[in-house]
């Protein structure tokens, strides 16, 4: 990837700011998402809540399904590759989708290495729990970051934890004398040059979305008020009782995240949200956010 291509890829993410990216598993859902005002769709075979329930190995979706979704909508189409599975990424690039999510929601293909994203032309978004993880992914070539949260739970607590952690570490860097940065970078696994850049910018050097457990308009606005640039909603829409209505409400809440009166209005009469899972008592092997190195 040339520097020019990388810039174009970060700039596509900029155009998604303030928007909602929705998980969809078929053409019909993709059309509902677009109609509701999604800025992009994530095409996959199973939403995270079902992956969690059904278990087994979760892989890249059938390219035929992704292709059908791509043909059905005009908004950007994203799809997931397993962590470290650079051949799945090559296939998705050949399919000419718009963004690849190297995602912990799928079963990792490599437990030591992520994909080297620099040889690709296509942009990547990656999940992160903290600043070190975000900057390592950027160093590998990611053009966009999202919180990991805990996908498929309908519980926003982990996304909040990850965003607060990143914000805290960014604030620490911002006030830190330069001579302390190398040790901070070493302790927290931050690539040094990127740490210097974050210190200067006072934020991540690429667009950062919220993801993992967002189920209500209030969840989306919460993540926006915590400083996210936009929102991914996975299982939260199509696992609720009225997906179209909920999708519209979350789009509105993300645009008007700072306006409690609007948030009140869009939060009313949405029907049942997806069933939520308690994360605090979840055994470690069931936690998806722990995947990533």
């Amino acid at each position: 990837m040339t520097e020019k291509r990388y810039l174009l890829n970060t700039q596509l993410a900029q155009m998604l700011k303030g928007g909602v990216i929705m998980d969809v598993v078929n053409v019909e859902q993709a059309q509902i998402a677009q109609e509701a005002g999604a800025v992009a769709v994530m095409a996959l075979e199973r939403v995270p809540a079902d992956i969690r329930k059904q278990g087994g190995v979760a892989r890249m979706s059938d390219p035929g399904l992704i292709k059908a979704i791509k043909e059905a909508v005009t908004i950007p189409v994203m799809a997931k590759a397993r962590i470290g599975h650079f051949v799945e990424a090559q296939i998705l690039q050949a399919l000419k989708i718009d963004y690849i999510d190297e995602s912990e929601v799928l079963t990792p293909a490599d437990e030591e290495c992520h994909i080297d994203k620099t040889p690709f032309e296509i942009p990547f978004v990656c999940g992160a729990r903290n600043l070190g993880e975000a900057l390592r992914r950027i160093a590998e070539g990611a053009a966009m970051i999202r919180t990991k949260g805990e996908a498929g739970t309908g519980n926003v607590v982990e996304a909040v934890r990850h965003m607060r952690t990143m914000n805290r570490e960014i604030r620490q860097l911002a006030t830190m004398p330069v001579e302390e940065i190398m040790t901070f970078a070493k302790m927290n696994g931050l690539p040094y040059e990127l740490a210097l850049e974050v210190k200067k910018l006072g934020r991540l050097p690429v667009v950062n979305f919220a993801a993992g457990g967002i189920a209500t308009p209030a969840d989306a606005a919460l993540m926006m008020q915590l400083g996210c640039d936009g929102v991914f909603v996975g299982s939260g829409i199509f696992k609720s009782s009225d997906p179209s209505r909920r999708a519209r409400a979350i789009v509105k809440a993300t645009a008007y995240y700072n306006d409690p009166e609007q948030l009140l209005e869009v939060s009313m009469d949405l029907g049942e949200p997806m069933v939520g899972l308690d994360v605090a008592h979840m055994p470690d092997h069931e936690r998806l956010a722990g995947r990533g190195w």
Partner: protein, 222 residues
């Protein structure tokens, strides 16, 4: 009375979704007063309004839900100048191939996402003599094409098989993103179209201090 607060000489940037901060940053670099616009009441007194790039279906839904489409048409009737970049151009077009038009205020036909996927996004340089005497950098992100311009619409930047920039007396449309480049030339051109006096002649308007991160000054920090 604070004239800037009332909107006199101020250019608004529609702040629903997309490249809002990038335009605010370019206007600041030009020395033009600017403000984000989220509600109909915030259109009052503006000299011009930029409808930024983003996703046109998302923007059109939000415009309709909050009645901003009516408010923008009304303000336009009252003399508000408009500029649409990328998705903004789609929203302003009278005709949109295969889709319903949104604001439909300028007599052009646009074809959405006409280059392909993100892998077909590109950067180039071109000369738009009415805007700058030097070539300026252009960034196309999943861009639409203007495929036809009606009478009364001036073509500012013709390309091989489409039009990249055009205008009529009150509306400017560009399918590319000047706010994603160091060039302030199109913002200067629009500010002048809005009746504001802006220094800087007619060069490429390249701001050497601009970086791809400049927009982040306008993203909210926590």
């Amino acid at each position: 009375m604070d004239h800037a607060a009332a909107g006199f000489g101020v250019i608004g940037v529609l702040d629903l979704q997309g490249g809002v901060q990038e335009h605010l940053d370019h206007l600041r670099r030009l020395g033009v007063a600017a403000r984000p616009v989220k509600r109909a009441a915030e259109l009052a007194g503006l000299a011009g309004l930029i409808i930024p790039g983003g996703e046109s279906t998302c923007l059109s839904r939000l415009l309709a839900i909050f009645g901003l489409d009516r408010a923008i048409r009304q303000a336009y009737d009252g003399g508000l100048k408009l500029w649409g970049t990328c998705a903004g151009a789609i929203l302003l077009a009278r005709e949109n191939v295969g889709e319903m038009p949104c604001l439909g205020l300028i007599d052009i036909v646009v074809s959405r996402n006409a280059f392909g996927s993100q892998l077909d996004s590109f950067q180039c340089e071109a000369l738009a003599p009415a805007v700058a005497r030097e070539p300026i950098p252009l960034t196309f992100i999943r861009a639409p094409k203007i495929v036809r311009a009606g009478e009364g619409v001036r073509v500012l930047l013709p390309m091989a098989d489409y039009i990249a920039a055009a205008e009529d007396d009150r509306i400017l449309v560009t399918v590319f993103h000047p706010e994603l480049t160091p060039s302030l030339a199109f913002h200067r051109y629009f500010a002048r179209k809005c009746g504001l006096s802006v220094a800087g002649g007619d060069d490429a308007g390249v701001d050497p201090d601009w970086t791809p991160h400049s927009w982040m000054d306008f993203s909210h920090h926590v």
